[in-house]
Structures are given as structure tokens and as C-alpha cells.
């Protein structure tokens, strides 16, 4: 009935009005549930619902049951703002979102202005996957918390690994032509120049976002450049088609990627038959020798047909519970203060902390390769039979980057 009520209160404003009693803690999940981005949004939604069930089984947060309110933003920033308004109307004080930095930027901006204009009704925005560095730098906000490592932090971790890998000599950068691709590319250039000046950047390509059906010309360029390593932030179709075209043309290089683990990524790698040639940088992988996270992974896979894409979502949910306990309240302002600077034992093991200066979470980062498995790797991905193998672990303190954030705290 809730959904109907909410829609009715919106569509037929006659029925709207009073907010409902607060015996639940509502978290507005604003991500694409229809259209092109829906496959990713749906996985995120089910992950959060699974996490809510976990919290509720332990008695909820501060005695309140957690409820995930799904809101479809169709990956459109304007639509996200409407959904956020809608969520707030129905009593939501926490919203979470991850797909698309454009959406995250708009939401962070919206929440900041909303809180400024509606004191006493503050709303917090938990970002679990939008990685544009600007959100915790120039455009940082007190009301925004990010659990995913931003793209610069990931590049810091990746280049720290590349620093120790002498076999890398010629690097080719290929990225999607939008802000994320741009930041991957510029971070890679500046960090590699600082850490491994001997590495040659033999190519630096930006291609249009989700518009290329044939990557053969790009592969021809990579091949001509003599690269041994390709670094790419590509995701979705742009990732899958890139790898397929590479395999078709017989290109033999190592791939360092951000989103090889995304939906369809493992399938594409298997189809391209790039056994342990594709590496991903992530805050966790299923095949880590860490019994609690393996148990969680098993339980999730038993219920749904996907693996845990978002270890950071687990951290987000669990830290919310701890912060609320610490603040003895679910009031967003108090929870926000409790979250600032909090240290936390992360899902995959190891220390993480929420930096007070910019609300960026720092955690151990893993480099893993995808391919055939040994008995040390119990989990495969997307029914391919292949799985992730740990290559290197970068500790949280080795991923710390300075921030330009000048946080404005509420007085």
C-alpha cells in the first residue's frame, strides 16, 4: 500500500499531506530501475534490501526497522531531484545513490541547498558508487558521504601497484569521453609520470560514450602504438565491445580496468578468452581468504543470481548502524557528526576510515585478475567458471590523497 500511497500523494495531491509515523528508518534508493542503466540499478537495490534484512534481523537501527524505498531516476539528474523531493515528502531522511556522477553531483547540490533552506529537516546523502573526485574536493558537502574510493584514489592504488611491476613499459590510455573518463586519463598521466617516469604513454584516447559499435579502429591504433598495457575506465557495452574487438584482432596486452567486475564484464572477458590478462582495481573481491565475507557472499548468492558488486554498500549500511548507536539517535545531523572521522573494520577485513575533511572513505584496495580458478578461489562470476584472483592489496593509508575541500559545517 505504501507505494500506492506515495504515488497517490504525488500524482493526486488530494490524498497527500501528513507524513507517516516514524517507526521505520527509510532509506531512499535513487538509481535507475528502468531504461539502459536498469541492470546495474536493480542489482544495487537488491543488495541494499539484502543488507536491510541483515540489519533488521539484528533488531534494526536504534530499534527502528530499516526500509529501502526504491525510486527510479532513469539515470537522469532532473528526475533524481524529483525523486529526492518525493522521498523527502514520504519521510525519508537518508538517500543513497551510486550510478552516475552527474546524478550524484545534482543530488549533493540539492541536499545541501535543501538543508540550508529547511533547517531541522536535514537529509543525508550516502554515495556508494559515484567516483568523480570533485564530489569530495571542489564540490564537497557536509551532507554527502562517499564510501567508494574516488577515481583518483583508485588510480593512486593502481599506480602504486604498477610502480612495483617492471614489466609494464608502454601504456595506452583509452577512456570514455566524459568527466569520469577524463579524470581517469589525467590521473593516470600525472601519477605515472611521478612514480614511473620511465613508462611511456604511447596513446591517450577518448572515445564517445556508449556510441561505438565497432572498436576495431581503436584496436588498430593500440596495436600500432606497440603498447603492452592498456588502462581504461570503460564500463558496460564500451568495456565488453572493446575487449571483444581486441580478442578478434588478436591484440595481446594486459588490461588494467576500473569496472571489469561490472555487469557483463566477466562474460565479455570469458568470451574474449583473456585468461588473467584483465585486472581490476576494487575495494573487495569475493575470493579473499576472509571467512565472514565469504559467508556473506554465499548467503547473497543463494538468494540472488548475482555476486556482491558493492562491498562498500555493506560498509555503508553497517557504519550507519554504528554511527546511529554512537549518536543514540537517527537524526541525520547527529549521525553525520558521528560518521565524521569514524574508523571501521571493513567488510573484506582491514582498517578503513571516513576522513573528516571531505567525507571520503578510505579502505584497503585490491588489484585482482580474472581467469581460471584454483581451490583458493571458490567463487566464479556470471556462470563463466572463471573467477577473481588476488594480485595485490594496497592498504588504506597508501591510498590517501590530499583534498581541496573546504567543508562548510552547519553552525
Amino acid at each position: 500500500m505504501r507505494k500506492l500511497m506515495m504515488a497517490a500523494s504525488f500524482a493526486l495531491p488530494l490524498l497527500g499531506g501528513g507524513a507517516m509515523a516514524q517507526e521505520t528508518l527509510k532509506i531512499g534508493y535513487i538509481d535507475p530501475l528502468s531504461g539502459g542503466g536498469a541492470s546495474i540499478g536493480e542489482v544495487g537495490l537488491k543488495t541494499f534490501q539484502f543488507l536491510a534484512d541483515e540489519v533488521n534481523a539484528k533488531g534494526g537501527i536504534q530499534g527502528k526497522k530499516v526500509e529501502i524505498v526504491p525510486l527510479d531516476n532513469k539515470t537522469n539528474p532532473q528526475e533524481s531531484l524529483i525523486q529526492a523531493q518525493k522521498a523527502i515528502d514520504s519521510g525519508v531522511r537518508y538517500i543513497t545513490q551510486g550510478n552516475g556522477s552527474s546524478v550524484a553531483g545534482a543530488l549533493s547540490d540539492f541536499v545541501t541547498k535543501y538543508n540550508e533552506r529547511n533547517p531541522g529537516k536535514e537529509v543525508l546523502f550516502f554515495n556508494y558508487a559515484a567516483v568523480d573526485p570533485v564530489l569530495t574536493n571542489a564540490k564537497c558537502s557536509f551532507w554527502h558521504f562517499r564510501w567508494d574510493a574516488n577515481s583518483d584514489i583508485k588510480m593512486e592504488a593502481l599506480t602504486n601497484y604498477m610502480k612495483k611491476t617492471p614489466s609494464i613499459k608502454n601504456v595506452y590510455l583509452i577512456n570514455q569521453d566524459y568527466s569520469f573518463g577524463e579524470s581517469v586519463r589525467s590521473a593516470a598521466k600525472s601519477m605515472l609520470a611521478a612514480k614511473r617516469p620511465d613508462i611511456k604513454i604511447v596513446g591517450d584516447e577518448l572515445h564517445p560514450l556508449l556510441k561505438i559499435t565497432d572498436f576495431a579502429p581503436y584496436i588498430a591504433k593500440i596495436k600500432a602504438s606497440g603498447a603492452d598495457t592498456v588502462v581504461t575506465g570503460n564500463w558496460g557495452q564500451d568495456f565488453a565491445l572493446l575487449l571483444k574487438a581486441a580478442a578478434d584482432a588478436g591484440l595481446k596486452v594486459n588490461w588494467y580496468t576500473y569496472y571489469a567486475g561490472g555487469t557483463g564484464g566477466p562474460t565479455a572477458i570469458k568470451q574474449a578468452n583473456l585468461n588473467h590478462q584483465v585486472f581490476a582495481v576494487a575495494e573487495g573481491i569475493p575470493n579473499l581468504d576472509n571467512p565472514p565475507s565469504q559467508a556473506f557472499e554465499k548467503a547473497l548468492r543463494a538468494k540472488y543470481d548475482f555476486s556482491l558488486f558493492y562491498p562498500r554498500a555493506v560498509n555503508e549500511m553497517r557504519m550507519l548502524a554504528v554511527a546511529a548507536d554512537k549518536a543514540k539517535s537517527v537524526d541525520p545531523v547527529k549521525v553525520a557528526s558521528a560518521l565524521e572521522g569514524m574508523e571501521f573494520e571493513v567488510f573484506n577485513g582491514g582498517k578503513g576510515f571516513m576522513r573528516k575533511d571531505d567525507h571520503q572513505f578510505f579502505q584497503p584496495i585490491y588489484i585482482a585478475s580474472f581467469g581460471d580458478r584454483t581451490e583458493k578461489e571458490p567463487f566464479d562470476e556470471e556462470k563463466t567458471g572463471w573467477g577473481w584472483r588476488l594480485v595485490d592489496k594496497i592498504n588504506a593509508e597508501d591510498t590517501v590523497l590530499p583534498t581541496t575541500c573546504k567543508m562548510e559545517r552547519p553552525s
Binding site: 531504461g35 541492470s39 572515445h207 564517445p208 559499435t213 565497432d214 576495431a216 579502429p217 588498430a220 557495452q237
Partner: protein, 334 residues
């Protein structure tokens, strides 16, 4: 490019010449392959759009249906059966759509038809999502075609791409023969160039339209079955294709199959060559003076030809419509 070798210096020149040659050969090959893929997808639309005048926005959806039917049938009976059955299924759906959807809408004009296909595209996408889910499915190239056909300049060209090329050419040839040599083809061709005349000739225009729509959607499905394994078979593949197919049809010229063929090749080649070029204004004229470095002028200055490659077809579309409204080989105005 080839110069007589006389001294060590010319050998050096030849080395860069060889790289140039390699780039040209490979880009041409890639361009032809991509162009033929475009033609494969657009051939059905040419027939429908030219003859019925219907801006079929659901064409890409039939292409997607073809891919998913192909995926499902190849699981059960293998790829080759799928290549035969899936287009027939999609074509049958196309026939039904024409008979029970488009025909009643037809008398309300082109905008109504267009909106009908708009709505249809939504419905097909959602039905595909309900049946096959939102994630990509694992649609593989048949193992009998999964090997490199030949290697040029150490770049492999897989047999499957050659197969795609052959199918495109075969469809082109078959359509041309049907149009030129058969009775029904002649009627259809007459309808392509003079859509209002055929009704006066006493032919059952309704049946012809139904047939044309069925064939057009079946061709889209053939493209789907063939492109599915090579690209990503996912419920958003129709949306991602975008309006590029309309560009092919309009640039080629309404009512002209050879036009669509030429336009596909042209767009394929232009795009591929554009991608292989790194030139930009800053490359040509040197970097912008620092005074303008952070203005919008810097954006234009720094854009490479490769970056704008996907816009090129639309520039072509606008220019063609302004200066040659009948398209490259068209017989009547758009």
C-alpha cells in the same frame, strides 16, 4: 606511397610510408566491415521507410528481438537454425504489427504511425526485459566461425566478420534481384518511387505493405542474429543504436537500395578514418594563448577529429538534406 629505393634516407621514408599504408589499409578494411554491418541493420528500414513512409522507430527493437530469438533458439538448436527461424518469427510479428497496428493508424497520418512505433519500442524493450532480464546474455559466435580468417599487418580478421560481410552483400544482391527481376519486386519498386500510383494499378496495396513490413522486420532480425554475438546482446541494445539507421536511409536516398548501400559504406569509412586521426585545431595551429585557456574556445581548440567521429554522420545528414534532398542515389525528395 612506394618510392624507388635509392639511398638509406628513402628507406627511412618508406618505413613511415609503410606505417601510413598500414593505417590506410586497415582503416579501409575496418570501414568496409563497419559499413556493411550498418547496411545489414539498415536494409530492412530502407525498404519500410521508402515504401511505407513510416518512420519506424521500432526497427531497432526488431533488430533486438532478432538477437534474443537468435540467442534462445541457438541454445536449443544451434546457431544456423536460429539464423533461419529467428527472422521468420520476427517477420511474423512484424506482419501482425502491420496488420493490426499500423494499418488502422495509417489513416491518421505519419505522426500517428510514428508514435505507434515509439510506443511499440517501449513495449518490446520491456517484454524482452521481462523474459531475458536486464543483463547481457551470453550469445556466442558459433565455433565453426570462431577462427581468424586472415592476418594483415599482424592484425587478425576473424572469420565471423567475413561472414557478416558476405551476408550483407548477399542480402543486398538478393534484394536487388527480387526488386528488379520478379513481378512483386517490380510492383514494390514502383511503389518505392511513386507510392501513390500503385493503388491505381489495382494491386492489393494492403497485402504488399504487410509483406514489405514483414520482410523489413525479418531483415532487421537477421541483422540481430548476426550482430548479437559480435556485439552485446542486452535489453538496451535497441536504444543504444540510436537514430543512425535513419541517417543511412536518408543520406542514401529514399527508395534506393544501392543508395543505402553506398551511404553505409560512406559512413563506415568516414567514421573509421576519423577515428584513426588525432588532429585538432591546437595540433594544426599550435596551442591556444593562455589568455583563452579556460574559456569555451579551449574546448573547440582541443577536440580531436577522433572525438567527433560519431557526430560526422549527422553533419552529413544535415548537409545532404540541405543541398541534395533526394539523397545520394535517391529518386524522389524526402
Amino acid at each position: 606511397m612506394v618510392r624507388p629505393e635509392k639511398s638509406g634516407r628513402t628507406i627511412l621514408l618508406n618505413a613511415s610510408g609503410a606505417a601510413m599504408l598500414e593505417l590506410i589499409v586497415i582503416s579501409t578494411l575496418n570501414g568496409i566491415l563497419f559499413g556493411m554491418l550498418l547496411f545489414l541493420m539498415a536494409s530492412g528500414l530502407t525498404v519500410i521507410f521508402s515504401m511505407l513512409g513510416v518512420l519506424n522507430f521500432a526497427h531497432a527493437s526488431f533488430y533486438m528481438l532478432g538477437a534474443f530469438f537468435g540467442f534462445q533458439i541457438s541454445r536449443w538448436f544451434g546457431f544456423w537454425t536460429a539464423l533461419l527461424i529467428a527472422p521468420l518469427l520476427a517477420g511474423a510479428i512484424g506482419v501482425a504489427v502491420e496488420r493490426f497496428g499500423l494499418r488502422p493508424v495509417h489513416r491518421n497520418g505519419h505522426v500517428a504511425e510514428l508514435l505507434f512505433t515509439f510506443g511499440l519500442a517501449f513495449v518490446i524493450e520491456e517484454i524482452v526485459q521481462i523474459i531475458w532480464g536486464k543483463s547481457p546474455v551470453d550469445f556466442r559466435i558459433p565455433s565453426s566461425l570462431d577462427f581468424p580468417a586472415f592476418t594483415i599487418f599482424s592484425t587478425n580478421y576473424p572469420a565471423y566478420k567475413m561472414f557478416m560481410l558476405l551476408v550483407s552483400i548477399a542480402i543486398f544482391a538478393a534484394l536487388l534481384i527480387v526488386l528488379k527481376k520478379t513481378r512483386i519486386g517490380l510492383i514494390v519498386q514502383a511503389a518505392l518511387t511513386h507510392p501513390h500510383m500503385v493503388a491505381h494499378l489495382g494491386h492489393n496495396v494492403g497485402r504488399i505493405f504487410m509483406l514489405v513490413f514483414g520482410v523489413g522486420t525479418a531483415l532487421a532480425a537477421v541483422a540481430g542474429v548476426i550482430a548479437g554475438p559480435a556485439l552485446v546482446t542486452q535489453s538496451n541494445m535497441a536504444g543504444l543504436l540510436g537514430p543512425i539507421l535513419f541517417v543511412v536511409v536518408v543520406v542514401g536516398g529514399l527508395g534506393s537500395l544501392p543508395g543505402a548501400f553506398v551511404a553505409s559504406l560512406l559512413i563506415g569509412l568516414i567514421q573509421t578514418f576519423a577515428v584513426s586521426m588525432n588532429g585538432s585545431l591546437s595540433g594544426a595551429f599550435g596551442p591556444l594563448s593562455p589568455a583563452y585557456a579556460s574559456t569555451w574556445l579551449a574546448d573547440i581548440w582541443g577536440v580531436t577529429i577522433a572525438q567527433v567521429a560519431p557526430i560526422v554522420p549527422y553533419v552529413l545528414l544535415v548537409l545532404i538534406l540541405i543541398f541534395r534532398p533526394m539523397g545520394l542515389l535517391g529518386t524522389r525528395e524526402t
